[in-house]
């Protein structure tokens, strides 16, 4: 059998490990798992797809890495991502763009594009990602795999290189909901090294996963369907709703009027937290340092950061710096925090009416490399996923159909969102769909 490195013709990986132990297994013991390059590992390097951290070797493992290794999972390497997890296409990676295994002229989505492509091309059985505004679910949709973002606080963030700490969450890419449940069950649970981690014991996720939910109530927000979506996506969602109806679920129309303003809220909050978190890259203790002669500390910082960061990261640091600066703090940052509470309230009301919320993960299928050169058009990709993180609830994207373009089959993602710490029910609802359909068993030509 050829190695992962030989089969990775998508630039999915930045580093390949442990090739002699590479093996496939039906159980968790020996399951092959790739790690997004913004989760620290003592093995190899952790670069966050940035020149700033080229060659950085972490002296410690992220909590999730220790827990997975203890459970016998085989880690196979680090996957490429948008620099510091900022992006929706994995084009903004210092080590080159990742290609979509379904069509190499298209992006895999982002920021966890390498992890999504690796699982889609069956280079490994699963992969870890991080999701701040859709960075697991959107690439999962574009690559036709399962992408699961647990409720905020369920899985320790210790060792996840911080982008926006109140939004970031580690999650998984797998081909089945079962594998997602198995992996997150191991990773979840209190960790004293993450002060935002939930203290209550983690819920059992894999137990009873295959028992269908009697009287499942599915909420369909009117804001999630319409002409902003590709027609093929609306058709796939209608068909998914029918599948659930046939399985006995009750379909309820709900209203989430703050869906659109979520993007504005997100692009204030995430850059604000990013500008603060990325202040640590100063060229003193680790990471890149400029070779240019500097007359003072200010020049040392400014040159180091200008050389080490890419365009998108610089843009977000500047956005965040501006919205936090005196005179603009109230109009932007504080106002976004108020909107954040309104978005949470909107979900609270919705989850009184329904158990899960259903819609498309993305308004379009995978786009062409270079197609979204304008940053705002890239940001709008997160329209259906950003509010999940703003509220801190759980969400999952599962394959639900295909759209044909230029003779290629492009996957479509079904997005289910669940209430706070209601992950077990979210996964059971997702499993009901996978039991009744076979979209998740389709693989791109390169993996056949």
């Amino acid at each position: 059998m050829s190695t992962i490195q030989e089969r990775d013709t998508f630039n999915a990986f930045h580093e390949y490990w442990d090739l002699e132990n590479e093996r496939q297994s039906e159980t968790l013991q020996g399951m092959t798992l790739a790690v997004k390059d913004n989760i620290v590992t003592k093995t190899g390097t952790t670069t966050c797809g940035s020149k700033m951290l080229e060659g950085y070797k972490s002296p410690f493992n992220a909590t999730v890495i220790d827990r997975l290794e203890d459970a016998g999972v085989v880690l196979v390497g680090k996957t490429n991502c948008d620099e510091f997890a900022m992006g929706s296409s994995t084009e903004h990676c210092a080590w080159g763009p990742v290609l979509n295994p379904w069509d190499r002229t298209r992006v895999p989505g982002g920021s966890s594009g390498g992890s999504a492509a690796a699982v889609a091309a069956r280079l490994c059985q699963g992969a870890l990602g991080s999701d701040t505004g859709g960075s697991i679910r959107q690439p999962a949709a574009f690559c036709g795999v399962v992408g699961y973002k647990p409720t905020y606080g369920l899985v320790s963030r210790y060792g996840l290189v911080a982008f926006a700490s109140s939004l970031d969450q580690i999650g998984t890419f797998t081909t089945t909901v079962q594998d997602a449940a198995n992996l997150v069950e191991i990773m979840a649970g209190f960790d004293e090294l993450d002060s935002t981690c939930r203290e209550e014991p983690a819920p059992a996720l894999s137990k009873n996963l295959h028992d269908s939910i009697e009287g499942l109530r599915i909420g369909i927000p009117s804001q999630y369907t319409g002409s902003q979506n590709d027609p093929a996506i609306n058709a796939a969602i209608t068909s998914a709703i029918n599948t659930y109806r046939e399985l006995g679920a009750t379909i309820i129309e709900i209203d989430l009027p703050l869906t659109e303003v979520g993007i504005s809220t997100y692009y204030v909050l995430a850059p604000a937290e990013c500008s603060s978190n990325l202040a640590r890259y100063d060229g003193i203790r680790y990471g890149h340092r400029t070779d240019k002669p500097c007359k003072d500390l200010f020049e040392l910082y400014s040159n180091t950061r200008a050389e080490g960061f890419g365009t998108e990261v610089k843009r977000r640091i500047m956005l965040g710096t501006y919205v936090l600066s005196s005179g603009y703090y109230d109009a932007y940052y504080n106002n976004a925090l108020k909107t954040r509470r309104l978005i949470c309230q909107e979900y609270h009301i919705a989850f009184e009416q329904c158990d899960v919320i259903l819609g498309p993960t993305t308004p379009s299928v995978a786009f062409k490399i270079g197609e979204k050169a304008d940053p705002l058009s890239m940001y709008l990709c997160d329209i259906y996923t950003a509010n999940t993180n703003i509220a801190g609830i759980c969400g999952i994207s599962i394959p639900c159909g295909f759209s044909e373009a230029e003779g290629k089959q492009l996957p479509i993602g079904l997005h289910l969102q669940g209430s706070w710490y209601d992950d077990a029910r979210l996964l059971r609802a997702a499993q009901m769909f996978q039991t009744a359909t076979d979209f998740h068993t389709k693989v791109p030509e390169c993996a056949q």
Binding site: T196, S264, G283, I284, R285, A306, R315, P375
Partner: protein
């Protein structure tokens, strides 16, 4: 809300951000940031009067741990990733005399 930025404003933001940008990068940033601010200024159309800001989804209060020494990194480990280190110190250029 006027959302277009001037070149001087962008220079100021770059300075606060500790980013030494070229003139070309400043102009490009001006264009991109103005477009983005135009979009995100839609926030002000929403009535948020009397709404309490929410800075974190968990609304956790400070969580403290016992004040006991746990496992710590060795000095060697801490210095291993430094761009420059000398003996047991981070090696940095002379910084006194500057205005920052």
């Amino acid at each position: 809300m006027n959302t277009s930025l001037t070149t001087e404003e962008v220079r100021h933001i770059a300075k606060l951000s500790r980013l030494a940008l070229t003139d070309g990068e400043i102009e490009k940033a001006k264009e991109d940031l103005s477009t983005i601010f135009e979009h995100i200024s839609r926030l002000s159309e929403l009535d948020t009067n009397g709404v309490e800001p929410l800075d974190h989804p968990t609304e956790l209060q400070n969580r403290t741990r016992d004040d006991t020494v746990g496992e710590v990194l060795s000095q060697k480990q801490v210095l291993a990733n430094a761009p420059a280190a000398k003996d047991v110190y981070f090696d940095v250029p002379k910084v006194l005399g500057g205005d920052t």
